[in-house]
Amino acid sequence: MPRIKVEESVVNEPTVVVETPQPVSEEPKKVKTKRPDDTDDILKSKSGNPLFSAFSAFPDFINFEGEDQDEKVLLLLRAHVVTNVRWILITIGMLVVPTIIFPLLASLNMLGGINGGTGFVFTLLWIAATFTYAFINFLYWYFNVYIVTNERIIDIDWYSIIYHQTNSTRISKLQDISSTHSGVFASIFDFGDVHIQTAAEESNFEFTNVPHPDLVSQKIQDLMEEEEKEWEVHPE
């Protein structure tokens, strides 16, 4: 028997192709990059109250020693608020002592030689010292600031109760900048370090545990580019 070959026919549905005239562009397609204005908008959206915030963009009521007349503060940075948790917990622990530990010791007759008056005044001293401990730790956080202006960056450090240091360098002296997140908390709360390398004769800068380190380094890079452009126009 002759084999009958059945060919499958593919039925193509008619498609309507509407051709619209495309504008012919001779210029290559530009890739959208972050402009300084975009960075400023993002910084403003992330900014908090300059008085108590760790990240403040374009703060109005902040001045620092040695500020020039035409200098404008762009960023005011402190360590992220989360870094304060340790001393806050210690303070709470210290406040618990006079309410629980002292009465417990008294009930066990372990405060021999301490009369009621001494105990009362000692409790007052303990509470005052606890408050001082919290206050000083707050001040360490509050006065350890990093300031970025349109002209330079400033690092104000208050290391101990009797020693503080202020470093600053011009934006034109900056050479390289990088940011790092290290640790679980740093990743969760988006804080980290910003490393700023300056010209050889100047000391390097490190912004420690600041919020949004990528944004900060982006802003400083923008300033460096602006400074470079300005230098090309006015080399002096």
Partner: protein, 74 residues
């Protein structure tokens, strides 16, 4: 019995003396803190600088009060 009383008195005196020295150091420390805050508020001026200084002064007053309370009560 008299010996026990004297021993107790000496112990109490020692504790009081130790306590008063402690409060005195706390008082001096508060003054140093105020001095540093005064300097730092010049380095970084903000709206809450007067408040911070006021708290530091309040601390000195509290330390002085505790010292006098210690002299009278302890």
């Amino acid at each position: 019995m008299i010996f026990d009383f004297l021993q107790f008195l000496q112990l109490g005196l020692f504790i009081k003396l130790f306590f008063m020295v402690l409060v005195f150091f706390y008082f001096v420390f508060c003054i140093v803190v105020y001095r540093q805050i005064h300097l730092m508020t010049k380095v970084l001026e903000s709206k809450i600088s007067p408040l911070v200084q006021a708290i530091a002064i309040a601390q000195i007053i509290i330390a002085a009060t505790i010292f006098f309370l210690g002299l009278v009560m302890a």
